[in-house]
């Protein structure tokens, strides 16, 4: 197990090294950093000084080495546009993106898995067929469209509806279902982390962006769990489990669902990575003050330090998630544990 983790760590380091190389080369190929940083009226002499101070006259390998050592220490340079340290800007924006991604991932898992199990077990049920049809829509609609439709209904339409009388008993104001369409709502400051999870307002603000961001993954996970369940339910060990008279619950969840978990973990891991990466679109639609939005602004302004840092951070998340996924395999599947010999009992 330890050897395995070390091997994976080394692989991860390689991946990060190459991503750093790509990030670094952006500085070389996309415009001249000095031109980006100074105004038109800066003299040539001042430009040369700045060039020297930034180390841009050093040989490229030295520059790369410096870039990496700085990055490892959390220093990604200064934003061209905002003249502030990139790391500081990232840290400010990180909580918004991570909270949004986390809630979307939870939403897609907690809804997607049960729906997948349900549709797998009741293959021909009416509800299962409804789920499948709806999931097709979820898979084929682009993210931003879902976001815009949600905003249109929950923020615009509901705001314009008159209160309705319910059986003459009480008045129902549709506005209580109205959801905010932009921003994080009220956030609570916990030192270096700001959270929207502790206020009603913040939670409400999370609902639509999370659904928008998680819907695609939800349908994906549901369909994956469904097809895996169908596959596993046909296996001999499920037949044998039934032949032993195990309760349905034990067969379906204890035996069948657990065997679908390895592929589900794989896909979920990859999906959590893409949720974080694809938050860009959702953040734009909902004016969500996260890293994705910052990245888009940086692209518009050719603010290379931010783009480079964002790239590395996303790669870092992918690598970490992959490591976690690999370790989860170990927990779930005894066949992968090193101890396959006929030796000791516990794996």
């Amino acid at each position: 197990m330890v050897a395995f983790i070390i091997r994976r760590l080394i692989q991860s380091l390689f991946v990060m090294f190459f991503v750093a190389l790509v990030s670094f080369s952006m500085f070389q190929f996309i415009g001249d950093p000095v031109n980006q940083m100074v105004g038109v009226e800066t003299s040539l002499k001042e430009r040369a000084e700045l060039r020297e101070r930034l180390g841009l006259n050093d040989p490229i390998p030295v520059q790369f080495f410096n870039y990496i050592t700085d990055a490892v220490q959390g220093d990604f340079g200064i934003s061209y546009q905002q003249k502030r340290p990139v790391s500081q800007m990232l840290v400010e924006r990180l909580p918004a993106t991570l909270e949004l991604s986390l809630i979307s991932a939870l939403f897609s898992l907690l809804v997607g898995i049960p729906m997948g199990v349900y549709t797998g077990l009741n293959r021909n049920g009416f509800l299962a067929k409804c789920f499948l049809t709806i999931s097709l829509i979820g898979i084929s609609l682009p993210t931003f469209l879902i976001g815009i439709l949600l905003i249109f209904f929950f923020s615009v339409t509901l705001a314009n509806l008159q209160p309705i009388s319910i059986f003459g008993l009480f008045m129902l104001d549709p506005k209580i279902f109205q959801l905010p369409s932009f921003g994080r709502g009220t956030v609570v400051d916990l030192g270096w982390w700001t959270t929207g999870l502790l206020t009603v307002d913040g939670l409400k603000a999370l609902i639509m962006p999370s659904i928008t961001l998680g819907l695609f993954q939800l349908t994906l996970i549901m369909r994956l769990v469904r097809s895996e369940m169908l596959e596993v339910l046909r296996t001999d060990y499920i037949k044998f489990a039934r032949a032993r008279g195990l309760r349905n619950r034990a067969v379906n969840f204890g035996h069948a669902l657990k065997n679908t978990m390895v592929p589900v973990i794989t896909i979920t891991g990859l999906q959590v990575g893409s949720i974080i990466a694809f938050a860009i679109i959702t953040e734009t639609v909902f004016q969500w003050p996260g890293m994705g939005q910052m990245f888009l602004q940086a692209v518009t302004n050719v603010d290379i330090p931010i783009m480079a840092a964002y790239l590395m951070l996303i790669a870092f998340f992918f690598v970490v998630i992959n490591l976690i996924v690999d370790m989860l395999y170990y927990v779930v599947d005894p066949r992968l544990r090193i101890d396959t010999g006929k030796g000791s009992g516990h794996g």
Binding site: Y237, G245, L246, R247, H255, H346
Partner: protein, 351 residues
């Protein structure tokens, strides 16, 4: 006389399809007594597995029991709701399937699978169940059971896994075990061991067995009675000596042409030319008539039902003709009759 342990009465297993209903098991009846080993043989597709699946109540849809009944200790079990049948499965009727490599859930230790089975059917505590699990592993001949109980299926060899499967099937002492080709997937060298183990355990516990196999050698050594199935019907059923030494049905006769030693697969029944008809084109009359060397007029018209002949029951018109006592007698009787009718024909022609 007490009821037999298991009674199968006019069982029909069918598959409704768009182009009509396929009848895969067609009106079969047999009993299994307490502690008896009933061997079931027949070519691939004869309906052996479906019969077993119907008994344990695990026919896979769209397969269904179309008619008939199955009684366990006199109580009807084929129409029980799922939950009631579930309580019977494992507890009163155990099952062993063909492939030990895939019968165990790879993600759970064998101990966990054993205790789970035990605790589902009894109110043993987890500690007690674990002790029982180790005991069972000992009983099926797994060395160092106290250690191996915590190991996972992939840490066992095929033969060892089938021992675990047997332990699981017998975990709470069922009255009947349906063993569907329990050794076919195994290495020839360990097939005999597994059969011997199954036989010994069932004898010790008084467990009855329905043993489905292609291996006549296994039947000869293990079974008390044999049912020979052909195209979803029982051709002949009777005491093992009777069926092997003194086969009555022409199909059985062909089957017994040569009985290889245990472990040799007698799947290819080459001595009978032709092959079993598909479910969609079972001929009228006796299903065996296209291949039967003794087929005669009636065989193409009416379907023979199993009738008692000596200690067996045989579904063949030969035995109706003369109430014959042996295959040879029967053949002779039919031949004689056909000569007579030929003579009559000639007479008629001469007139």
């Amino acid at each position: 006389m007490a009821d037999p342990l298991l009674q199968v009465r006019n069982l029909v297993v069918e598959f409704p399809t768009r182009r009509g209903t396929l009848t895969a098991v067609d009106n079969i009846s047999f009993d299994i007594a307490e502690g008896e080993v009933l061997g079931v043989v027949g070519e691939s597709g004869a309906g052996k597995s479906l019969t077993g699946a119907a008994i344990i109540g695990l026919l896979e849809p769209p397969g269904q029991v179309g008619a008939g009944e199955i009684l366990l200790e006199g109580r009807r079990i084929d129409n029980l709701p799922y939950e009631q049948m579930r309580r019977i499965r494992g507890k009163q009727i155990g099952a062993i399937f063909q492939d030990p490599l895939t019968s165990l859930n790879p993600l759970y230790s064998v101990g966990r699978q054993l205790t789970e089975t035990i605790m589902t059917h009894t109110d043993m505590t987890p500690t007690k169940a674990r002790e029982r699990a180790i005991e069972l592993l000992t009983e099926v001949g797994i060395p160092a059971p106290a250690r191996r109980v915590d190991q996972y299926p992939h840490q066992f060899s095929g033969g060892m896994r089938q021992r675990v499967v047997i332990a699981l099937a017998l975990a709470v002492n069922p009255r009947l075990v349906v063993a569907d080709e329990p050794t076919t997937a195994l290495d020839v060298s360990i097939q005999a061991q597994i059969i011997a183990l199954l036989k010994k355990l069932c004898r010790d516990h008084g467990t009855a067995v329905m043993l489905v196999t292609h291996d006549m050698g296994v039947i000869a050594e293990t079974a008390d009675r044999v049912a020979v199935m052909y195209a979803g019907r029982i051709a002949e059923i009777g005491p093992v000596r009777e069926v092997i030494k003194n086969a009555k049905h022409p199909y059985t006769h062909g089957l017994m042409g040569s009985i290889p030693a245990v472990g040799h697969d007698a799947e290819r029944l080459e001595q009978i030319p032709g092959s079993m008809p598909r479910l969609t084109d079972i001929p009228q009359g006796c299903a065996f008539n296209p291949r039967c060397p003794q087929a005669h007029g009636r065989c193409f018209r009416d379907r023979p039902e199993p009738l008692p002949v000596e200690d067996s029951r045989v579904a063949c018109w030969l035995y109706d003709e003369a109430n014959a006592l042996s295959y040879e007698d029967a053949k002779r009787a039919v031949a004689a009759k056909e000569q007579v009718s030929e003579a009559q024909l000639e007479e008629q022609a001469n007139v």
